[in-house]
Symmetry: C2
Subunit: 359 residues, 2 copies
């Protein structure tokens, strides 16, 4: 097991990465202010892992309730969030009862937001069970639900007390979800680490075959980069925005097709190709660079073309992006492979061109 | 006009108290990061004051949208909150668009919570239009909506950028609402300032006749006390809990009868009598003290008796209180008139006795 530390102005917390961690409740116990926990999971993950976690906590005297949500991005909404509140109140959860997110990014984002709001703030812990959640969503304290008109529009910055990434849980993950997680891993290489990008090009086959050492290195390097960026800019006033590489396009795809049609990671993958293409239009990347991006994304089993949507729909959806400032959408583009930068505003004609070519 | 400053670890903001402030947008403008605002009001307050505010802001180049919610505590729920989000998204509100709460505590609490969640945090300003909101809810950053099973169960600590209390707006306030506000004013005297309590006893008639100087002093002294307590304990880990004098009982009344049946201030008033009676049972207050509390509350036009509810219902409703710790309800009681203290756990038999005598 390795442990990273995320140090923020008001708090700090460990990110444990390793094997067999689910039942090592010694990692969890120091973060529970009282021996009461409420586990939030979903219909897919609960049958696989909930019982083991509950047993392990129960054996150490922690009173546990659980709530099992329907599975899917389309349930990342207020109605489903309310099921968490209903369950907390039915179980007399207190302000210091710890919420435990046991699931992928959807469960993690919703549990974190529920914890942020329940009695104005209850403690919570992340046990991410997808690659995407282990490398990205469980770290950094962004929590949210979707609004029909925009992805992650309603949420909070609210940090977990600990992140426990048990690599063993990835064994049951479907291939398509593994690939979706690799999209965010590739993102880190593209936005800030050319060496890691090259490592990914060399190790993509091993990763897709779930080579244990390769996966653990990818999770570790991703979490290191995420933790460093979040430590520098918790509330996204600066550098943290770079983590949204591919996401302005990606969120438009997700909202435009209806949440859940494409996986988040798939939408981000196509979004990163669009970002690379836009960067090439500005002269920041060469054609060969864009090709390298496309090849790596394809090698990860991810789409390199966005779905066809009318240009006006793209523009309208992107105008709701959280990175809009003074009416202008701020895009994260690539100065070079391994170095992202913000570009405020792109010509409508440039946008139409790259959308036409890449969808 | 007088201005108080609330100084917190991460932020500070002014509380302006005076006459004719609604159209003095110079008080507002410094707090708008971009010249875009979204005013949230309700069906009752909007026809009275929205146009004037919008005109004044428009004249200074601020682009304003507005959303008008149904009026009432029973709408302090997720469905109504969503109307704010719908309106913000329809109006392309950005992360730095300022939300302005123009209304009483219900509008203030909901607008603040919407601001806390919209794109994970937008700026907001309070323009309280009820006495209760001017002396209490607009100051200190507690925001929330109700859950069917508990008052203010879902919310956030999220501070406004400014509070603008225009005394002139109280002219249109119904008498019953004025009295409800006086409940929170009396609360400050009871919990921490015996001199202010004596002043209230002498000036209650003037206050109810809306004597301008008396009202402004009551607002000012209340805000001073609230600001001092919040400055000391923003997140309610200690002394801030004292502001909940009468509220554990009061919230049970509100939830038990259905939100909106009793006004919040009325429920708190009856709750303060119960707290005084419980304090007497513990030997902290004498019978004459309890009588003084009853007399002042009655003089303010407020109920001194709680509605009849079965004892088990009281206990169940109070077990959902945010001040529950380790399964025990923590009551705010009175050591003496002018000095509150926390008491963890009260005998069920004691509770039943005081509930029987005071309802
Ligand atoms: N908060 C952040 O910073 C952040 C960052 C990136 C993504 N996100 C969010 O994360 C979400 C995507 O997360 P995700 O990709 O994990 O999706 P997900 O949570 O929907 O999980 C994907 C699928 O895998 C299943 N699953 C989870 N763990 C499993 C396991 N161990 N074995 C078998 N099946 C398993 C889930 O039930 C689901 O069907 C999006 O909503 C996205 O917006 C948030
Ligand atoms: N956040 C906090 O710290 C805090 C503190 C105390 C109370 N509260 C909350 O505040 C709420 C109660 O606030 P409230 O008493 O202001 O109730 P309210 O907001 O419902 O207002 C009372 C009534 O007066 C009307 N009104 C408002 N201003 C008016 C005006 N100037 N002229 C005529 N009518 C006017 C409203 O439309 C409403 O019908 C409760 O939900 C309570 O939980 C919050
Ligand atoms: Zn993402
Ligand atoms: Zn109150």
């Amino acid at each position: 097991m390795i442990t990273l530390d995320l140090i923020l102005p008001d708090t700090r917390y460990p990110i444990h990465i390793g094997h067999g961690l689910l039942e090592q409740v010694d990692l969890l116990l120091p973060h529970l202010p009282i021996p009461k926990a409420a586990i939030v999971s979903n219909e897919t993950v609960a049958p696989l892992y909930l019982h083991r976690l509950q047993q392990a906590l129960g054996a150490r005297g922690v009173a546990c309730t659980s709530v099992i949500l329907p599975d899917g991005e389309r349930y990342k909404d207020w109605q489903t969030l309310n099921l968490i509140f209903d369950s907390l109140l039915a179980g007399n959860a207190e302000r210091r009862t710890t919420l435990i997110a046991l699931g992928g990014g959807v469960i993690g984002d919703m549990t974190g937001f529920a914890a942020a709001c329940y009695q104005r703030g209850a403690p919570f812990v992340q046990i991410p069970t997808t690659l995407l959640a282990q490398v990205d969503s469980s770290v950094g304290g962004k929590t949210a639900i979707n609004h029909p008109q925009g992805k992650n529009m309603i949420g909070a910055f609210y940090q977990p007390r600990a992140v426990i990434a048990d690599m063993d849980l990835l064994e049951t993950l479907p291939d398509r979800e593994l690939s979706a997680g690799l999209a965010e891993v590739i993102k880190y290489g593209l936005l800030g680490d050319a060496d890691f990008l090259a490592w990914l090009e060399q190790n993509m086959a091993a990763l897709r075959q779930r080579d244990s050492a390769a996966l653990q290195y990818a999770v570790r390097r991703s979490c290191e980069m995420k933790a460093a960026i979040v430590a520098e800019d918790e509330k996204e006033n600066g550098v943290r925005a770079l983590l949204n590489l591919g996401h302005t396009f990606g969120h438009a795809i997700e909202a435009g097709l209806g949440f859940g049609a494409w996986l988040h990671g798939e939408a981000v993958a196509a979004g990163m190709v669009l970002a690379a293409a836009a960067s090439a239009e500005l002269g920041w990347l060469g054609a060969a660079d864009v090709e390298r991006v496309r090849r790596l994304i394809a090698a990860a089993g991810l789409p390199v073309k966005a779905p066809a949507m009318p240009a006006e729909q793209w523009l309208k959806l992107m105008s709701h992006d959280k990175k809009v400032e003074a009416g202008t959408v701020r895009f994260v583009l690539l100065r070079s492979l391994g170095q992202a930068a913000i570009q405020a505003g792109l010509d409508t004609s440039l946008l139409e061109r790259i959308l036409l070519e890449n969808s």
